[in-house]
């Protein structure tokens, strides 16, 4: 029986600079990558992915990915789908904010206190999605 590679989940954050929600995606993705699920996740660098980064595109073909977008334009989701494969899951920060009835965040460069709470909320949402995609067992 061939040994299959350890299953990992790719996280693609839009990192959009024009709105606070874009920065929130970036921070939330990094929180999951570095703290919540460091062994099970890989970050896909969206600019490199769009520019033709073959390693990132190949990864997204064979491993499940989570697109984390700041707004309904969903650049991370559509970019991944266009250049590789449809992400297994999509998180849109503006929708999450609306669903939870939260205040709008401010600060593109550095989110305000409301924004940082939303970062944590998004990070937990990503982490939960990672666990679901890995079947809760991690492999």
């Amino acid at each position: 029986m061939p040994e299959l590679p350890r299953k990992k989940v790719g996280i693609i954050a839009c990192s959009g600079e024009e709105i606070p929600e874009g920065t929130i995606t970036r921070l939330a993705a990094l929180r999951v990558l570095h703290q919540l699920h460091p062994e099970n996740t890989v970050t896909i660098c969206l600019p490199l992915f769009l520019a033709g980064g073959e390693g990132d595109r190949s990864f997204a073909r064979f491993f499940p990915t989570i697109a984390v977008d700041g707004c309904e334009k969903q650049c991370a989701f559509h970019g991944t789908e266009k250049y590789s494969s449809r992400p297994a899951a999509a998180i849109v920060v503006t929708e999450l904010i609306a669903r939870h009835g939260l205040d709008k965040p401010h600060g593109c460069r550095k989110p305000d206190a409301v924004g940082m709470e939303i970062v944590e909320l998004v990070a937990q949402e990503i982490a939960g999605t990672v666990e679901k995609l890995l079947g809760n067992g991690g492999r």
């Binding site: 590679p5 350890r6 990992k8 790719g10 062994e39 890989v42 896909i44 073959e54 390693g55 990132d56 190949s58 990864f59 491993f63």
Partner: protein, 147 residues
């Protein structure tokens, strides 16, 4: 034209040039016409990150095995590169002065670091790994690093 061994782990692909010998730390050694050329393996350069600076000992420097022949500085690490064989540095890649990123872009080609006039090549090369052996070691190291 060299052939390469290759493995992909997560989103990273690592290549090993089959025409080279390797130290266990990932310095490649290519022997051509009695001269020995040194460089960083693909795994070593990827693990280190984008090279901002490289300081190579000047031509004329005598090296014993494991002496520092160069050091690299990236945003992630500072790495001292240990000589895999003994000898005298006779040539430093002049391109690296202005384009150290050549090491990242073409680690087995234009990104070579220096050439050495070997002192005890026959004895020293026995300490090195051939491409297959280095490939296996590299694969283990890469898998551990990704976990």
């Amino acid at each position: 034209m060299s052939d390469f061994l290759q493995v992909t782990i997560d989103k990273f692909t690592f290549r090993v040039d089959q025409s080279c010998l390797y130290s266990s730390e990932g310095i490649w050694v290519r022997i051509e016409d009695g001269r020995v050329r040194l460089g960083l393996s693909d795994f070593l350069q990827q693990r280190s990150g984008d090279i901002a600076f490289i300081d190579v000992k000047p031509a004329g420097t005598f090296l014993a095995i494991d002496d520092e022949f160069a050091s690299i500085e990236t945003v992630k690490v500072n790495v001292m590169l240990a000589a895999p064989i003994s000898g005298k540095i006779v040539l430093v890649n002049p391109e690296l002065e202005i384009k150290p990123e050549l090491i990242n872009q073409a680690p087995f080609g234009d990104g070579w670091v220096c050439e050495i006039e070997a002192e005890s090549l026959d004895a020293d090369r026995k300490r090195l790994l051939d491409a297959d052996a280095y490939f296996m070691k590299m694969q283990r190291d890469a898998e551990e690093a990704q976990q």
